[in-house]
Symmetry: D2
């Protein structure tokens, strides 16, 4: 089988680099086009990008010539991954979709549009049905398919099996989020050294609202929003990668910490059944040590490192009648961003939607 040629919009930034790591040596996809801003266009990728990550820049992308972020640049591709900042994504992504591309986007611009799938493959694979509706509504040959905000993904992945098996009424979540979530230059060292910042613009809104759509029911081209009450308080801490979330839940039905751990640990869903290349064998890893999960290790969680979330300290909650609380930690840049888009694309491919 020959690989599917894919493009990457916004290839030089930190999220773009995470996409390159996820797509390098991918069994199904082959990076054909890398785009960036005008000032990078025309340069070899190695010259255009200051590489921030480990492992070092993959050899095979070094010589790719960076193109401007335009429709022409991705003509020879079938899927286009978008690591664009939302202000640019807002303008560019519809053009790409109109030109027939499937845009697998990490940007927030169109996440909440009623006909745009907001996907976590383990949770709402059937929402891909919105693609048809979107094409019809907009007269496009392609479509935009999005993944949620990092904090939302990490939270919902852990909640999903509980929602299914015991039900969740109310969620309080206080986060401790990594620096990389703000982009390479997002947090100044003078701000965060010996300090923390108890505020991340728009993050709480996303964490409280994206789940209503993701957990919603697809019917006849529409998503009926779910009913779940979430209150989020989002904080930035001096950690490079890995968001940690302190979660308090009111369950619909009683469940002991042991059974919560079992339910989470056994959780598998469509990406696992389909054996998608970057789907972790277990989406949720239960940590047994009393002082885990910690982001420095949890950022690598899973059989595909960074694609699972780590859960620990599952314990009863003394306030709610059916209360449970625990900690989650997961890789915001992989499972929460680039890896999420790639898994979306894998799901589409497996369902013959490309």
């Amino acid at each position: 089988m020959s690989k599917i040629p894919v493009g990457l919009l916004g290839a030089t930034g930190m999220v773009g680099q995470r996409f390159i790591q996820s797509l390098s040596d991918h069994p199904w996809f082959e990076l054909e086009a890398l785009t960036a801003s005008e000032k990078s266009a025309g340069k070899r990728y190695e010259e255009a990008a200051k590489w921030y990550l480990y492992p070092p820049m993959p050899e095979e992308v070094k010589d790719i010539e960076v193109r401007p972020t335009e429709v022409e640049a991705v003509e020879d591709t079938e899927i286009v991954f978008s690591a664009l900042p939302s202000s640019i994504a807002e303008e560019v992504e519809p053009k790409m979709a109109k030109a027939g591309k499937i845009v697998a986007s990490n940007a927030s611009s169109y996440r909440m549009d009623p006909d745009v799938p907001l996907m976590i493959p383990e949770i709402n694979p059937d929402h891909l049905n919105l693609i048809e509706q979107q094409k019809e509504n907009r007269g496009w040959d392609g479509a935009i398919v999005t993944n949620p905000n990092c904090t939302t993904i990490i939270l919902l992945l852990a909640l999903k099996p509980l929602i299914d098996e015991v039900g969740i009424n109310r969620v309080f979540v206080s986060t401790m989020q990594a620096l990389s979530g703000a982009g390479y230059g997002g947090v100044k060292s003078m701000e965060i050294e010996d300090n923390l910042i108890p505020y991340i613009p728009k993050e709480e809104w996303k964490t409280e609202n994206e789940p209503l759509k993701i957990l919603g029911k697809y019917e006849k081209g529409k998503i009926e929003k779910a009913e779940i009450d979430i209150s989020a308080s989002c904080n930035r801490v001096a950690v490079l990668d890995g968001h940690t979330e302190s979660v308090f839940l009111e369950l619909e039905n009683e469940a002991s910490p042991k059974s919560v751990e079992r339910i989470m640990s056994e959780f598998k869903a469509e990406p696992q059944e389909l054996n998608l290349p970057t789907a972790p064998i277990k989406p949720i890893i239960i940590e047994k040590e009393p002082d885990k999960p910690q982001p420095r290790s949890a950022r690598h969680a899973g059989s595909v490192p960074g694609m699972a979330v780590a859960v620990g300290r599952v314990r009863e909650d003394p306030v709610f009648e059916n209360g449970i609380r625990f900690l989650i930690s997961g890789n915001n840049a992989i499972r929460g961003a680039a890896g999420a888009s790639v898994l979306n694309a894998e799901l589409m491919k497996a369902k013959d939607l490309l």
Copy 2:
């Protein structure tokens, strides 16, 4: 007025040093005796203690000869402050009390004993009445008076005016606590660099249970515990000083964020009315900037630096009907430890209980 001679048990450790800072140049108290372990006894304080804090060691303590932690060592004092670790405090403090000393203790050993006052002077000054009961029960000439755990103090100081004015039913709190709370050697750098630890032994229990006593009603030599449901999740982050707490409240009665801010900002209590030397003019400072409170500045909050707590981001909570959420940050080592004991002693002095 001549000053009251006081002793300090456990003077060389980090909490002991915070006591020395609080007591240096104190208008009412004079450091007469400093005690430490056997290996320090006999040395000048300057030789015995490796000074960790800024400002540098006060001149007047440098030449004080450190004594062993025994009753004889504090004979010439009226109050004895205890910065002892709880395992040692458990044994030593009763001896001191028996010998007629008022022991103002930061240790957790006797906090929950029914006849031992667990004090936050702004909240339960009348609990000092337990002193009589304690003396009677135990046949002591002196008594032990304690302050709560750092996390508890910072939380309750912010909650108290709301409890009084609108009522609080339920509290969820997720903390981000400073390194100094674990003692100078408590957290290894390899553990916390580029990381966080979502677990602090015994801290959640203290945060959930100490408030029931502190907020309880004193009657006839007893405290009737308060009814308030608290769920705490305690995390360690890479910050030197200053605990930050993310709080979600269910109020008994409706109150807007604005009115919550007003209620907190106007809060004053007995220490303020009595003009106690280290009582902050305002126990709660409302921060208006959207990204505050932050521990690097909040650790200095208040007219007496470190003795007030900073509250910010007061906002409605979308989950509870009368829900309010906000962040608090305060100095764990001052308001949450040494300064708390000193304020207790000031209150006792002002009430002629010394």
Copy 3:
């Protein structure tokens, strides 16, 4: 005596804020005018500046209306302190000098001009004689007087007494510099967390070349550059304030570590003799503990906190015949920047040059 009205150019940035701290409650100077960029002009200082420092913004500056950085803005002042970035200083400072102001500048723009004094008051007070020459050369009523780069000041302050008493031939210095030296937004948290950066643009050139002028001999309106060989390697580390420098010296004459400590410890110069308000009683503090100086404490060194440098680990060097090595640590933002300019102005005032 009424105070001298002074202006501050670039008052809202981090260096500007350090100037405000140094000038607040100054016995000789009174802040009359604060200037900033167009977008801040017209606002109250409290609105215009996000305050980064501790202690909090002094009350007396909160209501001062920020002016644009123009000559008219400082009409009612005698001295103008400049916290401007060098690109702006280059244009603005000559205009101010032409208009008759003494500009006490921290910017690098004119430091190396032959007729501009580059001052460390303890080292080259006679270089103020260049002011006359500068006025004559340029036909100005005022003049520009500069202080060196932070790294240079901290280094030379420690070297000066050795130069005088035993002579220094060669200097190797490897630095570990604080984040604040790069400005509030200069170093990204993603760059420095769990990392260091072994490069600071232009810093090594300044550290090697500014001393030749500062240590030079003033004669007939000119500075004859000193002969001293310096090699610098400059590194950025995750420290908020306080540059630390690892120094290896070849002395002209033999001197034991003990005598080097004595020479440094006894060092006093004109600012000390003149009792300048912000001159530290001892410019060099010798630290005796084996693991000092450390920047977290050394940033406060001196009787005027932050105005002295701390030296420790003075020991023989096994490579040079008369070799000595030690560590220096000092406050880059105070002694190395704002405080340096203020001390320059105090010296000028004491010498009736204002």
Copy 4:
């Protein structure tokens, strides 16, 4: 070929864990015995060791039963790697050697003994000849073979090709060393947060003296020490892994920065020629970016990650006539410790000395 059974002394500590990573899946060696202190003996490795590293604990060691650190424990092995602290190594290693084992030790206890090889395989492979002498001197069937201190290895690896091609007279080195070099609990977070420590016990002595032996000439069972003057100043900074060294050199003969880079980049030695399994293809990686090497990336340097050192900022030195200066950064825990011992063992195996 069946693999050689090996033992690991001190298997549960952080250095021990690095050994396990280096030896896991090793093509020549098979971990047969893991030893630790009495309290771990008898437990499965997974129970006995709190794993600190990434990747997670290799599956194949989890079930190995930890043995006490005694001769009997390693009976069925041919080589014994020692990750013991020097105080224990001092006693245990000779017993092992006497019992016929080759002890490949990272401990400092016997490094400077005249008949004990102190090896960097790229530099002094012929020093393995000392093994015969050692056996003879001591009447042992086995022998102790050591690797140097981490700082020494990283420094000498970079210096060796220059010594060979242009000669080096004098070396000044100021280090910025990682936390892991002090062991997992060696540096307290309160010590190093927003700080650095300009002192590491014994480190400077090792850095100045071990090279004289390593670079010495083997002749007739003896090492004649080399003549090279080194002055080291060692500092601890808040970096997890990777020591960075700021080096100033006086060369014997002139060499431009370009030629120094070329000489280093082309350097290969016996481990490369012998294709030893963990020998990096290039021991020295030249970094071209102006702000490199940085420890967060350099800790992975080399074709075998962590086994090469990264050198950057090679530039002329203005003080020495034939002066050159640069920065080196390398993995203290791999190339500087466990990996060094493993490479020593590989060299011995390749030379039929096992």
